[in-house]
Symmetry: C2
Subunit: 108 residues, 2 copies
Amino acid sequence: MSIPTVMVGKKPLSRYILAYLFALQQNGSVEVKARGRAIPKAIGAVQVLREGLVRGLEVESVDIGTERLQGKDGREIRVSTISIRLSLPGKKAKGSKRSASPAQGPPS
Amino acid sequence: MSIPTVMVGKKPLSRYILAYLFALQQNGSVEVKARGRAIPKAIGAVQVLREGLVRGLEVESVDIGTERLQGKDGREIRVSTISIRLSLPGKKAKGSKRSASPAQGPPS
């Protein structure tokens, strides 16, 4: 099962909150990605869900990175990226990049 | 041993790269914090170190959050935050918030 991805851009915050919610309801997990100035918005939308809308929402992993893009004048631009993996409680995605611990027993 | 913290703000990127480096050399680990628009810069400086200056630099944990600040007009503003914990290879800080696995044996 592949995890749906939401790329956060220039739309209003509420759009992304809804997109995360929709993906979580469909699949139990979602991967949120953002670049550069959209990163604070991606985090903000995650926090709105965590702080009220979705009880027990799990932040499975947060990965940071860099992407190299071509600027308008042909020069290379480096842009910071973030990738946040969310899942509903008890619906941890398989193949998660960073598992908290090896499975040594059933979840209580 | 407490971990030194670097708060990323409005200074140029290079300042923060140097600040991370200095703390890493002194303590073996550093906690990088940023709010709102400074978040992409904090990530960018980490990536510059990871991609060349510090071989094997470990990103121990990345935590996201929200802070509530008082705006100029007295209204509450919510700001996204990030906290990135870095350590030199083999110098993982004790008391790390997110340990990869419980200590069940000596590090090889």
